[in-house]
Amino acid sequence: MSLAYITPSERFKKYLPKDYVELIDFGPFGKTQEEAGPGNMGQFKELMEEHPMCSGCWMAYYIRLIFASLPCPEETVTIGTAGCGRLAISQAAVPFIYGNYGDQNAMASGLTRAFRLRFPDKTKDVITIAGDGGTMDIGFSMTMHSWIRGERFTTIMLDNEVYGNTGGQSSGMSPKGAVLKMAPMGKDFEKMPATDLAKAAGCVYIVRMSPTNIKAAAKVIRRAIFVAREVGPTFIHAYTSCNIEYSIPTEDVFADAIELGKGRFKFDEYMTDEAKIVIERVEGEEKAARKARKAAKVAEAVN
């Protein structure tokens, strides 16, 4: 774990803007989940800062949640593509690569392999975060082939079931019948079976969900990253509504997310036996570490 590149040089510390100094002192770097997890995401400027998305954007919320859940933000690189999502992703203090249209999983393939050859003894996490269009339409072949090749990184699809950034066109992930731009008579084919495709292509950990439960969502993100480190490709298909194009009043965004969480985004978690072993081990270790810290705290209090 290297924090050197985010540690201010001693002499310049007082010449840096405060929020940069706070990155290390109060930011999520080098911290445990209890100290810096989603439960505390309000305290970090990096995750709090004004996002450039529409008011009430559920995607912006989920992206913040992703960053708050990272097991090791100081060793993580995110990759995105054109779409609303990258506007928020680029606000975080984690490196973000913005490539060409839909090529995030191809980029991640190169990046992950290059990291492994340059840093054989380090863990560097790579996550692609793209919309339904980038992941399942324009980037489809690159997404699928990165899974088929067994590339070890995490793919997160922010599914708002529409091309929000270009003004509300129908996507492969739009539900059948949805009347959207470029589907003026209603979309005439089914929503693409993303998680089935992921399973067929060899993803070893797959979750479909509507991230309304903060703890459950964080757990899934971490599981996906831990498994990708050791076993193979992992995929999270998350519902992140577009309240503008689907005309969801801001105050109803949460209710809509809960509603879809009961419907086509019903929680579904798949893992291979190999993935399961990793999850059980890592979560066991985390639990033990939590216990140990608690015990130490109690001991300290007693003393």
Partner: protein, 394 residues
């Protein structure tokens, strides 16, 4: 993970100047595809990614063999060219030395990503083994695809033969990685005519390699979480706001073309300059690049044997375009003949625009669609230009 263990090789790392100019060389009789993969072997490449397309496939399968032999560290066959070129862009952010190659339609398919490499500051080396791109389908050599690369911002070298292919490819890595350049270098040569044909190549020992890639000596930080700044999106999408104008994008583009022009001094250093001129001051100057330069060289030889006032300008660097050098070389010419392997005559257009008296540039001869450019075709133009009677029947 592969069950087969690749051997660990111990090689001597040297500077590019030593490698190209001082290291003892031995003559080999090999194909252009072999020449390119032999250069990759000596370039200490970290990673190669490619999607097969004829005639490039010969090069990249040989590079795969070179990987299996332990000369490079990582290699895979990607899903298609856009995936390939994007993966190169991704790997490049981690700070490794990269190579890929493609041909004709593959280049066009990957062009969206390739055109973004310079702006992304991707110092990869791209082999272009030329091939017909237009319908109907054909696998034959025709370098029209190079015209589509001219405005990408990449440095472009055009190899005449197997020896050039070897030397240019090797030098390309050093040029691409200079801090004041740091953009991709494309090394083009004609498919089949060079890739699948054997020629003599003087090569240094494969125990010598170009010194390791240094991701710190870079005009942009590697995105490896080792180099500051932490808050980095290396290629921020530019959106105009009250606080930002499009000026950032325009100066960024200028920077890419400035970097391209800064490559010229290294083209002099490693390749002896962007042009080779034989018999300067002749009445007729043949000007050509790539295989057309080989045909022109042959025509030049015949013309010398016949005592004709014919000179040759071989253009090695297409980008940066050697405007000054070409002006100088053509200053005394009465006629310039530009043989080319494409229908549009992209080199001819550039040459016409580069000199003050563009009218002396003769259009062609051009062949395309995989046709050979017989020396007789060039001789025909020379005789016609000089008003000499001849017996050439085409």
């Amino acid at each position: 993970m592969s069950a087969v263990q690749r051997p660990v090789l111990n090689k001597k790392q040297v500077e590019m100047n030593y490698l190209l100019h001082e290291a003892p060389r031995e003559k080999h009789f090999i194909t252009g595809a072999q020449a390119m993969s032999e250069a990759v072997k000596r370039a200490n490449v970290d990673m190669a990614i490619a999607y097969p397309i004829t005639p490039q496939s010969e090069v990249m399968h040989l590079v795969g063999d070179v990987f299996a032999q332990g000369h490079i560290k990582e290699y895979y066959r990607a899903e298609e060219e856009l995936g390939t070129m994007s993966a190169i862009a991704g790997a490049s952010r981690a700070g490794v030395r990269l190579f890929t190659a493609t041909s004709g339609p593959g280049l066009i398919r990957g062009l969206e990503a390739i055109a973004s490499w310079p702006g992304h500051r991707v110092p990869a080396v791209l082999g272009i083994l030329t091939r017909v791109i237009n319908a109907p389908l054909s696998i034959q050599p025709d370098n029209l695809e190079m015209a589509y690369m001219l405005y990408s911002g990449a440095v472009m070298l055009h190899a005449e033969n197997q020896q050039d292919t070897f030397d240019f490819t090797l030098a390309a890595f050093a040029i691409a990685e200079k801090v004041d350049v740091y953009i991709p270098v494309a090394v083009a040569t004609e498919g089949f005519f060079v890739t699948h044909a054997k020629g003599y190549v003087d090569m240094m020992s494969e125990d010598l390699v170009y010194k390791e890639f240094d991701p710190v000596a870079s005009p942009v930080p590697a995105m490896d979480n080792e180099t500051p700044p932490a808050r980095i999106q290396r290629d921020a999408p530019v959106q105009k706001s009250n606080f930002m104008s499009y000026l950032i994008h325009s100066v960024w583009q200028q920077e890419i073309w400035d970097s391209n022009s800064r490559a010229m001094k290294y083209i002099y250093e490693y390749l002896g300059g962007p042009v080779e001129v034989l018999n300067p001051g002749s009445d007729i100057m043949l000007l050509a690049s790539g295989c057309a330069a080989a045909q022109a060289r042959e025509a030049h030889r015949y013309a010398q044997e016949e005592g004709l006032s014919v000179g040759l300008v071989k253009v090695k660097a297409i980008r940066p375009f050697p405007r000054t050098e070409i002006r100088e070389a053509l200053a005394a010419a009465k006629t310039v003949i530009v043989p080319e392997h494409n229908i549009v005559g992209w080199l001819c257009t550039e040459v016409k625009a580069a000199i003050p008296n563009g009218g002396i540039v003769h259009e062609g001869p051009r062949v395309f669609g995989g046709m050979t450019l017989p020396v007789e075709l060039i001789m025909f133009e020379i005789y016609e230009a000089l008003g000499i009677e001849h017996t050439i029947k085409l």
